[in-house]
Symmetry: C2
Subunit: 507 residues, 2 copies
């Protein structure tokens, strides 16, 4: 299937017109299609790829009917249907894309998305005047998301079922006049029918912007039921086949090694590791900043502002004990700690960011990540658990992820706890001496220590590529734990104060 993007004007005009189909012909085609779909579905199951099929379209085009039919024709055990309508507060509380991350298909499976990422922007565009450029920004986010998934092996097909205004009127009238189908024509459908031109314009613009190689659109004339069903069924079959076939590499702009080297700054080399704090002033400062943090987090709770704290750092840099000084100041009902280790079998079924989206905080809450999504460009890079292609593109994916959080008014603090190599050795030795700390030292820690230089370089790259204005890194001078803890508490307080408008006074 040769792919040619749809030109803006042609979005609906290039649509192939439906042709009436005889009952017998339909029956015969459907029988074959069912066998083909089931076979393709079984073949997909054996692969590591997955597929999202978005079914969009105007009211009366029969989105629900077609989805029913597809679940009837296919094996429902390997197929999940998701709609994004009337979401619970649990979803509304999270960054907007959270709902889509919760609805991804596992590898080998198919997800049908009822309206997908498109219904909501189209309705918002029709119902309220948005700022100019709004739809373009939404489209950019969607394209980024779709391309990211595609590179990870999640294929996508998008089907728009179209009706001209006349055809829509005919359909709704037909349903309305048949007492037994009456219920299929809802009040809202009639209301939207009057806005047919606006809906078509908004849909056309969005489709034009999001018709990419990664996730192309298909426009289907929905004016004839049998034609529509067979056409959508065939598109589904083509989409599954495309997902099964050996992946064609997607072209991406590569960051070449030279580029990285040219720009490289030695962030870690600049850290003043000799900064320290004495016991007395530390204890006083701890109480002051913890009290302040406590109040700020309650205020953030009252104002539905969420916080994400990500802690990265060398082994024995004091992440755990620093986190404890932070949590000591937060009501136990407000926060959650997520310890990030090797991905589970479950997590490996999805894009690597999936497991970080899932525990994002509800409105007003705090999620603390003890190690984070940056594992992709640190341990996974160095241990070659991710290919160069994968960890290189992760920088942009992470920036986009964090942008979604910030757009949702989430406060992000990212800490790299830095210590010198000598300090690490000193702490390793100390841990071996204390009974309840001994379990903290494993062979892996010693192995990681051997790779200090490699990690140093990876950390520099990481900071370089992800130190954005909206989510900057804080590099913590960790040789003195007391100094480090207060630096962290202060930094969180300062970010929260800015987010809350700075009116929160100290005392």
């Amino acid at each position: 299937m040769k792919y040619e993007p749809l030109a803006q004007k042609d979005v609906f005009q290039s649509m192939v017109a439906a042709r009436p189909m005889h009952r017998k012909e339909y029956g015969k085609l459907a029988t074959h299609l069912r066998a083909d779909l089931l076979e393709a579905q079984r073949a997909l199951k054996a692969t590591k790829q997955s597929l999202i099929v978005t079914i969009g379209g105007l009211d009366g085009a029969g989105k629900g009917e077609v989805i029913q039919l597809l679940t009837e024709w296919m094996d429902p055990r390997d197929l999940d249907t998701y709609s994004f309508w009337d979401m619970p507060t649990d979803t509304e509380d999270r960054p907007y894309h959270w709902r889509y991350w919760q609805s991804l298909p596992k590898r080998g499976r198919i997800a049908i998305w009822f309206g997908g990422m498109y219904t909501d922007p189209i309705e918002r565009e029709v119902n309220g005047a948005r700022e100019s450029g709004w739809l373009a920004e939404v489209s950019r986010e969607i394209c980024f998301f779709e391309e990211m998934l595609r590179k990870d092996g999640t294929f996508q097909a998008k089907i728009w079922m179209h009706l001209t205004k006349t055809a829509q009127h005919r359909r709704l009238k037909g349903l309305y006049e048949n007492p037994q189908q009456h219920w299929r024509a809802m009040d809202n459908d009639w209301k939207n029918h009057n806005l047919h031109d606006q809906f078509t314009a908004a849909a056309g613009e969005l489709i034009h912007h999001t018709d990419t190689h990664c996730a192309p659109w298909n426009i289907v004339d929905a004016s004839d039921r049998k034609w529509r069903n067979v056409t959508v069924g065939r598109l589904m079959h083509t989409a599954i086949k495309a997902a099964i076939e050996p992946c064609l590499a997607i072209e991406t702009k590569k960051i070449t090694r030279t580029e990285v080297h040219q720009k490289k700054i030695h962030y870690l080399a600049d850290v003043k590791l000799d900064q320290r704090m004495e016991k007395n002033s530390y204890e006083q400062a701890l109480i002051t900043w913890q009290g302040k943090l406590h109040r700020l987090f309650w205020e953030a709770y009252d104002r539905n502002i969420s916080t994400v704290l990500a802690f990265e750092g060398w082994d024995a840099a004091g992440k755990g004990s620093a986190i404890k000084r932070v949590t000591a100041a937060i009501d136990a009902r407000l926060y959650r700690i997520v310890c990030v280790g090797i991905p589970t079998t479950e997590a490996n079924n999805y894009h690597y960011l999936w497991r970080f989206w899932q525990p994002l905080p509800r409105a007003g809450r705090i999620t603390i990540f003890d190690r984070s999504w940056y594992g992709r460009v640190l341990v996974e890079r160095i241990e070659q658990l991710a290919s160069k292609e994968e960890w290189t593109r992760a920088y942009a994916e992470i920036k986009e992820f964090e942008k979604h959080l910030v757009d949702h008014d989430t406060v992000i603090c990212k800490f790299w706890l830095h210590i010198s190599r000598e300090k690490q050795m000193e702490r390793f030795k100390n841990r071996l001496k204390t009974p309840y700390k001994r379990h903290k030292i494993t062979e892996e820690d010693w192995r990681n220590r051997e790779k200090w230089t490699q990690y140093e370089s990876a950390v520099n790259d990481m900071i370089h590529h992800t130190n954005t204005p909206y989510a900057p890194w804080t590099i913590v001078a960790g040789n003195n734990k007391k100094f480090a803890r207060i630096q962290i508490l202060q930094s969180i307080c300062s970010k929260l104060e800015t987010a809350l408008g700075g009116e929160s006074g100290d005392h």
Copy 2:
């Protein structure tokens, strides 16, 4: 540790009084405790048991502080903390116990429950006059839940941190007067202090009712911080040790084989399998009942009434096609189909009912189970995947589960699709002839067919034990698929009409 249940009056009087502890003694005890806790935690991890520790207590007793401390002393990677406060609509929408099922520890892990199942009933008892017997019924439900988990290998320890009225006053005053601890004494705490006697009475009664062998209570004097911390830490250690040791069997009233046989009725033998429906009247009836069902489900949506449909039946009885006739009548955004197969690795980490609680519908929605929790007393019984002990107690557990749904105003319809053995053979042969149905026949189907008589007996027992007035079985005469489908549609309509108050007229 010999266990003696707490007498109602003695609940708090028998409490061992705190003794002041010197800083040095505390430090030494804490160091040992930490090592013990970590060791016990690691040993638990290697077992198939899990542990829930509930931390309850009056305001100012330091629940939050103690939970902080425990996560500090223990390995936070194998420990999860849950609170049940300010729940999102996603939770409020579901049967009350849903929140607890979502907070269970995996095998080998520990969950700390902040207030657990106790805070809410105590507050409700204090804040509003409840019907007499209310607290007793809540207690019965809690005891059932705790015993059920215990039998499945989830141990439980419950700690109540107590303060006399004088001690509570002293604690709140102390916090309030210290500018740096000021934030620890919340307005609400002072309000509740005035209700100290009422809180103590309600807590005392609830503790008295729920102090069982399966999940005993421990009362801790919280008037001295160091004593309290050490005591709670030790109780935690004892609880983990108890969970590690080889399980002592819990005595339960066994349903003896004779008992079952005496009562046995041949439910399936009574089904009139020759009932049929002709094509013309079927097509008319299908449209009528689907239209009616569509309206009823929208009405249920408007009124926040959820529905659970469970389909069980012989292989080739027509479950799949019957479900399709039901879903054809429901808006695709309102329902979800759950196909129940062999439990996944994830599901095996929990009580077998866990995977059925998770997908329960939100308010106003519908979940359709294609096979269900009854697998426990059917396939798992016959294939010996569950021990006799396990499937025998499942009857009561299932009845309790369904009672929770009904108490939450969920409509439950349970269908057994019955066919004759000859009809099954006829359908197996037909399936082999149709290309898109061939995949439906597997070797397992033939094996199951060999065990017809065993299944027949298991189905009779199942219906006998779980055919409750609040969730009765509908046995569907399935030899004629058309008749069966209309019987199912009518049955759901009738249950919904009753739930909606019967005012919904037919047309």
